[in-house]
């Protein structure tokens, strides 16, 4: 396939060639990967709409917006470090993205053992992230009195958007962790080597599934990059 792919026109000429050709537009991309990409495009729009709503309400409310670095500071060893937990969460999620990319690499090299290990590492990082997010939620709800309908720091929409956006993101991470564990099990069992048919979908298993899982996981990290910048730092 590489040789055939390599012979196709590249660049902008390749763009018109691909769109004008028969059978498939996206050369070298199997249908499940194309499906995941388009799904991610749609999911991007969901998160962008949520962030745009956040921007709109924050810009249009006359009430003052709480300072995120104050709200999210953590006290360790007697000093208050602003956004410490968030920084650690970012570190964890970026690491998980790294381990995911390496898992995909080992998947394609058919290294069953290392692929499983890195998939599990990614899942562990993801679960850690969700755990820390849950800790943050608990701290804000129980100790700081932040509610979706009001908070002591300023505009009441702060809590509403915080819970909605991080909740939506956290749900995506959780779903990702579950699928990572499923993928890890399938890899360890050798499903991708034998091409065993899926239980629900009856589709032949293939190491490509790990790359597709990787796309989803990197998307989850990407959304965090935006949330981190717009919600916590701005």
């Amino acid at each position: 396939m590489n040789r055939a792919l390599g012979k196709l026109p590249k660049g902008w000429g390749g763009l018109t060639h691909d769109w004008g050709s028969d059978q498939r537009v996206f050369k070298g991309i199997p249908w499940n990967k194309a499906m995941m990409w388009i799904f991610l495009l749609s999911d991007t729009f969901i998160f962008m709409c949520a962030l745009i709503s956040y921007m709109t309400v924050r810009a249009s409310t006359a009430a003052s917006w709480p300072d995120a670095s104050v709200v999210f500071e953590l006290e360790i060893f007697g000093t208050s470090v602003p956004l410490l937990l968030i920084a650690i969460m970012t570190f964890v999620l970026i690491s998980s993205s790294g381990t995911m990319a390496i898992a995909v690499k080992y998947g394609y090299e058919k290294n069953r053992k290392l692929c499983t290990i890195f998939l599990l590492l990614t899942a562990v990082c993801g679960a850690t992230f969700v755990g820390m997010q849950a800790f943050e939620w608990t701290k804000l709800i129980l100790h700081e009195g932040v509610r979706p309908w009001g908070n002591p720091f300023g505009a009441e929409q702060f809590g509403a958007f915080f819970f909605m956006i991080t909740g939506f993101h956290g749900t995506h991470v959780t779903i990702g962790v579950i699928f990572l564990l499923i993928m890890a099990k399938k890899t360890w069992q050798g499903d991708f080597d034998t091409g065993r048919k899926g239980f629900f979908t009856s589709v032949t298993s293939n190491y490509r599934a790990i790359e597709i899982m990787g796309l989803y996981w990197h998307f989850v990290d990407l959304v965090w990059v935006f949330i981190f910048a717009f919600f916590y730092l701005w």
Partner: protein, 107 residues
């Protein structure tokens, strides 16, 4: 199978990009820690955010090596989102203006 060759890179590139992401995250964090204000703050936050996003999409999600067909399909709709951002920014500014104008003094 040879079809997988294009999908597999040396581990080095992942580690370098990983490190770069940490560096950008650290700098973004510093923007807040050192209390930069105003336009400089926003520019830096956005710049680091876009850089990190670009690295993740291009390298980790492999888009740098994919053909133009899919790259264009994925990136052009983002301009629509940018337009939406612009329109909503203008409209929320207008909403705030009317609120301050009509509701602020004496009410």
């Amino acid at each position: 199978m040879s079809q997988y060759k294009t999908q597999s890179h040396k581990i080095g590139i992942y580690l370098w990009i990983w490190a770069l992401l940490f560096v950008f995250s650290f700098f973004s964090y510093m923007v807040d820690y050192l209390n930069f204000e105003g336009t400089l703050r926003w520019t830096l936050i956005l710049a680091f955010m876009v850089s990190k996003a670009a690295l993740i999409v291009a390298v980790f999600m492999h888009l740098f090596w994919e053909r133009y067909a899919i790259v264009n399909v994925l990136l052009w709709p983002m301009t629509l989102m940018l337009l939406f951002v612009g329109i909503m920014a203008a409209d929320s500014e207008y909403t705030l203006l009317t609120r301050l104008f009509y509701f602020a003094a004496g009410s």
